[in-house]
Amino acid sequence: MKKIQLLLIISLFGHVVMTNEVNVYTSRHYDSDDALYEEFTKETGIAVNIVSGKGSALLQRLKAEGVNSPADIFFTVDAGNLWKVQKEDLFQSIKSQEILKVVPENLRGPNNEWTAIAKRARVIFYNPDNVNEKMVEGISYEDLANPEWNNKIVIRSSSNMYNQSLVASLIASLGEENTEIWAKKLVNNFARKPQGNDRSQIIAVANGEADIAIANSYYIGIMLSGSAGEDQLTAAKKVRMIFPNQDNRGTHINISGAGILKNSPNPTNANLFLEFLLSKRVQKYMVDKSYEYPILDGVLPSKEIASFGISFKEDQTSVQKYGELNPDAVRLMDRSGWK
C-alpha cells in the first residue's frame, strides 16, 4: 500500500520536469521504434518520453492541454492526422536545413509544419495461381471498378484511414463525381463484406478466397520476415505485389510523419530528434524493421520489400490533400455503401 500511495503522490505532482528530454506523442507503436529511441538517448543523452495512442485522441489531448502541453513532437502514421494538427495551428515550422534538403516538397507541410519520416504504398496483391499475370499488367486503381473483377476484390472497411486517404487521393486526381462512380462499382466487385485488416486481405488472396487485395506494402514485408508466424509466411510466399497506375500518375503513397509542436518545451531536442530520424543510418534501420520505404535517396528498403522492385512511380499528389479531402472521402464511401 505504501508503494501505491507513493506512486500516487509522485504522479500527483505530475510530470517531473527534466532538462534533457524530448516528449513524443505518437500513434506509431512498433517495437523497433523503442530501440531507436534508446539509441537516440545513448547518442545524445536526451531521454525520450512516449505516450502512444490513436492519432485523433492524442490530438484532442494536445488541444486541451494548450500552452501547457508537455509534448514536443507529434509522430503519426497518416498524413491526414498531420494535416489536422497543422490546421489547428499546433505545429511550428521546421527550420533545419538538413531536413529540408533531403525531404521532397510533396512530403512536407505547406510551411514545413511537418515532415515525412517514412513512406508506404497502397498496392495490389494477387495470387498467380488464380490470376493470369496478363490481367493485372499495367493495372490501375480505376481498373478495379471493371466488371471482370466482379465478386473478386477484397479490401478492409472504409473506417480505415488508409482507405480514406486512398479515396481522398482519387478525389484529388479524378474529381468527386468520377470517384463516386468508381467507388460504387468497386463496392459491387467486393468478394465479401469488408472485414479484418490489410493482412487478412492478403491472406484471403493467398487462400483463393478472392483474386485481388488492396493493402499497404509493408504488410507483405512483415509476413515474409516470418515474425508473424508460419501461416502468414506461407501465405505471403503465394502472392505477388504490383504497383498500380504506373502508366499514368503513379501509385498512391502515404507517410509516417512528424512535426515539432508550437508549445514545445524542448524545441532544440525536438529538432535533433527529427534530424536523427532522417539520418541515413537510422532510415536504413527503420525501414529494415518496419518494411516501409525510406525518405532519403540512396537508402534501400528491406530485402523483403526490395524483392518486389525498388523503384516505382509515385503519385505526386501532395499528401496534405489527404487530410483536406478526408471528410469528403468518408461521406463518399458512405454514399457508395462501402461498409
Binding site: 508503494k3 501505491i4 506512486l7 500516487l8 504522479s11 500527483l12 505532482f13 505530475g14 510530470h15 516528449n23 507503436h29 517495437d31 518520453n49 512516449i50 505516450v51 502512444s52 495512442g53 490513436k54 485523433s56 485522441a57 492524442l58 484532442q60 489531448r61 486541451a64 492541454e65 494548450g66 501547457n68 508537455p70 489536422k84 472497411s157 472504409s158 473506417s159 484511414m161 480514406q164 463484406k193 469488408p194 472485414q195 479484418g196 485488416n197 493482412r199 487478412s200 491472406i203 487462400n207 483463393g208 478466397e209 512483415i222 515474425s227 508473424a228 508466424g229 508460419e230 501461416d231 478526408n326 471528410p327 472521402a329 468518408v330 461521406r331 458512405d334 454514399r335 461498409k339
Partner: protein, 535 residues
C-alpha cells in the same frame, strides 16, 4: 458541519465530480449542429441504431438465459462437478470481449485453427469450412454474451440462494413442477437483481468499440468514432455520444422507478435456505453441459488459442517492461477498486440514512459512466483536468493532466456502477428495522455505518472491489489517452500488437491480463464457495 447535512450533501458532491466530464460531453448538445447530421441521417444513422439495437436485444436474451439458468442449476441441484462450476462460471469475466473477439477470428475464420483442425480430422477439402463466419453481428452477440453473462449469473445466484426453501416447497405442494417453480416463482422474484446485472451487460455492450470494430459490425459506437476520426467532426461525435448517454440515462431512471421498494426483501424469521436435489444419469449430464458450455466458450477456448499463439513466438516473457506493466495494471486496479467500493458504501449509506426520492433517483445517475465509451469519457476527462489545472492549481507547480490522478478518476467514474450494483444489492438484504433499532440505541451516522453495516456488508464490499478490479485490468481506451509518459498497462501492450493484428505477440500480455483478472475472480469464487449457508 451538521451531521445530517453531511450525509445529505455527500451524494450531491460526488455527483458533481462524476458528472463533470459527462456534462462536458453533453454540453456539445447546445453547440452547433454541422451539416454532417443530414449526411448521417440520410446514409448511415439508421444502420448504426438498428445494429446496436439488434446487438443489445440479442445479448440481453442470451445473457439472461445463460446467467439465470446456470445460477438456478448450481443452486437447486447437486451433480458431478457442481462445486467447481459454482465458481468457475464467473471465469469468463476475466476475458475482455475484444480478446475473445480476436481469438474467435483466430479460431473460426475460414483458415482459422478450428476450421483447419476440423478439415484435418474429417479429411475435407480446403474450400469447406465447418464453422460459420463469426465476423458479423451474430458473432458479436456470442462474444458479448459469453464474456458478460457472469454479471447476471452472480446476482441471480446470490438471489436464488436467499430464496427460502419453504417458499419453494409450498409451490411444489401446490402442484408446480420444477420448471414452473423456476420461471413462475423463482425468476420473477429475482427480477430486480437480474435487471441490475443486465443493465451492466447492456451498458458494456453499448460502449464497446474493440470487439465490434474487429468484427466489422457498424454500431452506434463505431459510428461515433467514424464521425470523429473520419469526418474529423468531434462536435458531432460528442453529440452522438450524448444521445447514447441520454438514452441509457432515461432507461436507467425508468427501470429504477418501476422497481418499487421493499417488496422483494425477506425478513421472515422462519427463513430456511433451499436444499438441493441430487441429479443422476442424463439429468446430471444435462446439468453438467448447461454449466460447462458457457465456461468452455467464454474461457477455455480463448485461453487455448492464446496459449497456442504465445507458444509460436519465443518471447522473453518476464522482461522489465512486462513486469512494470503488470505492476501498473495491478496497483491501478486495486486503488480504483478500493475508492469505488468506499464511495459506493458511503453513498448508499447516505441514501438509506437520509432517504429522499430525489436523491435516490439521481444517485443512480452516478452509474451512468459505465455506459460511456471509454474514449469519449476520456475526452471529457482531459478537458476537466485541464480546467482543474487552469483554475485550481495554476498557482502551484502541479499538473494533473497526464497524471495518474486523472487516470484513476476516469476509472472510478467508469466503473462505479460495478461497485454500486454489488453494495446496493447487499443493502437490499440488510433489513431496515436494524437501522431503527440502532437509532433507538443511540447509534447514528459513522458509528452505525462502521459497527453495523460494514460487518454485515463485508461480502458485498469485497465483491465490489473485486468486480471493479477485474474491469480496470481490461480497460483500454481511457488509459491510452490519459496515461502519463512511458506508462504502460497490460491492456495497452496487448492493444499495441493487436491493432496491427500481430496476435502472436499480443498473446503474452493478453494472457497476463487474464491471469491478473483472475486474481479478483479467484477471490470472488472463494467467497462464492463459502457463501452457502448449507455447507
Amino acid at each position: 458541519m451538521n451531521r445530517l447535512t453531511f450525509w445529505r450533501l455527500l451524494p450531491f458532491a460526488v455527483l458533481v465530480v462524476f458528472t463533470a466530464p459527462l456534462l462536458i460531453v453533453l454540453s456539445s448538445l447546445i453547440g452547433d449542429y454541422s451539416e454532417n447530421w443530414s449526411h448521417l441521417f440520410q446514409f448511415v444513422l439508421f444502420d448504426y441504431v438498428s445494429s446496436s439495437l439488434v446487438l443489445v436485444i440479442g445479448v440481453s436474451i442470451l445473457v439472461l438465459i445463460i446467467g439465470t439458468v446456470t445460477a438456478w442449476t448450481v443452486t437447486s441441484y447437486n451433480f458431478v462437478g457442481k462445486n467447481i462450476f459454482e465458481w468457475a462460471l464467473i471465469l469468463p469475466l476475466s476475458i475482455p470481449p475484444y480478446i475473445l473477439a480476436y481469438t474467435f477470428t483466430g479460431l473460426f475464420d475460414h483458415y482459422g485453427d478450428a476450421n483447419n483442425l476440423a478439415r484435418l480430422l474429417l479429411n475435407l477439402q480446403n474450400s469447406t469450412a465447418i464453422f460459420p463466419n463469426v465476423r458479423n453481428i451474430y458473432g458479436a452477440i456470442i462474444v458479448f454474451s459469453f464474456t458478460l453473462y457472469p454479471y447476471v449469473y452472480l446476482v441471480s445466484r446470490s438471489a436464488f440462494i436467499n430464496q427460502s426453501k419453504s417458499m419453494k416447497e409450498s409451490a411444489r405442494m401446490l402442484g408446480l413442477n420444477q420448471f414452473q417453480v423456476f420461471y413462475k416463482l423463482a425468476l420473477p422474484l429475482i427480477r430486480p437483481a437480474v435487471i441490475g446485472g443486465l443493465m451492466l451487460v447492456i451498458m458494456e455492450t453499448l460502449s464497446d468499440f474493440g470487439a465490434v470494430d474487429h468484427f466489422a459490425v457498424q454500431t452506434f459506437t463505431t459510428g461515433i468514432f467514424r464521425t470523429w476520426y473520419g469526418l474529423y467532426d468531434i462536435q458531432t461525435a460528442m453529440q452522438l455520444a450524448s444521445l447514447l448517454l441520454l438514452t441509457v440515462g432515461v432507461f436507467y431512471i425508468v427501470e429504477r422507478s418501476s422497481r418499487g421498494s421493499g417488496i422483494y426483501t425477506s425478513n421472515n424469521s422462519t427463513f430456511s435456505p433451499s436444499k438441493e436435489d441430487s441429479l443422476v444419469g442424463y439429468k446430471a449430464l444435462t446439468a453438467f453441459l448447461i454449466c460447462f458450455i458457457p465456461i468452455f466458450i467464454g474461457f477455455i477456448l480463448p485461453i487455448i488459442e492464446l496459449i497456442l499463439w504465445a507458444y509460436e513466438v519465443n518471447l522473453e516473457f518476464f522482461n522489465q517492461k512486462f513486469i512494470s506493466s503488470s505492476f501498473n495494471t495491478l496497483s491501478l486496479s486495486l486503488v480504483t477498486g478500493m475508492i469505488c467500493a468506499g464511495l459506493a458504501l458511503l453513498i448508499n449509506f447516505s441514501i438509506r440514512y437520509k432517504p429522499s426520492a430525489f436523491v435516490q433517483r439521481f444517485s443512480s445517475l452516478l452509474s451512468i459512466g459505465y455506459a460511456v465509451p471509454g474514449l469519449i469519457l476520456a475526452v471529457g476527462m482531459v478537458q476537466l483536468l485541464v480546467y482543474i489545472d487552469a483554475l485550481v492549481l495554476s498557482g502551484l507547480d502541479i499538473v494533473v493532466t497526464g497524471s495518474l490522478i486523472g487516470l484513476v478518476l476516469a476509472y472510478v467514474i467508469k466503473t462505479y456502477a460495478l461497485a454500486n450494483s454489488s453494495i446496493e444489492s447487499g443493502y437490499e438484504r440488510v433489513s431496515s428495522s436494524l437501522d431503527d433499532s440502532s437509532k433507538l440505541l443511540g447509534s447514528s451516522g459513522w458509528s452505525m455505518l462502521s459497527s453495523i453495516h460494514v460487518p454485515l456488508l463485508k461480502t458485498s464490499i469485497l465483491t465490489s472491489v473485486l468486480l471493479v478490479m477485474s474491469d480496470v485490468v481490461k480497460e483500454l481506451p481511457a488509459t491510452l489517452i490519459l496515461r502519463p509518459f512511458n506508462f504502460e498497462t497490460l491492456a495497452v501492450s496487448t492493444y499495441i500488437y493487436a491493432s496491427e493484428e500481430r496476435m502472436l505477440q499480443a498473446a503474452a500480455p493478453a494472457i497476463a491480463i487474464v491471469l491478473i483478472g483472475l486474481i479478483p475472480i479467484v477471490f470472488l469464487s472463494k467467497m462464492i464457495r463459502s457463501s452457502r449457508p448449507t455447507h
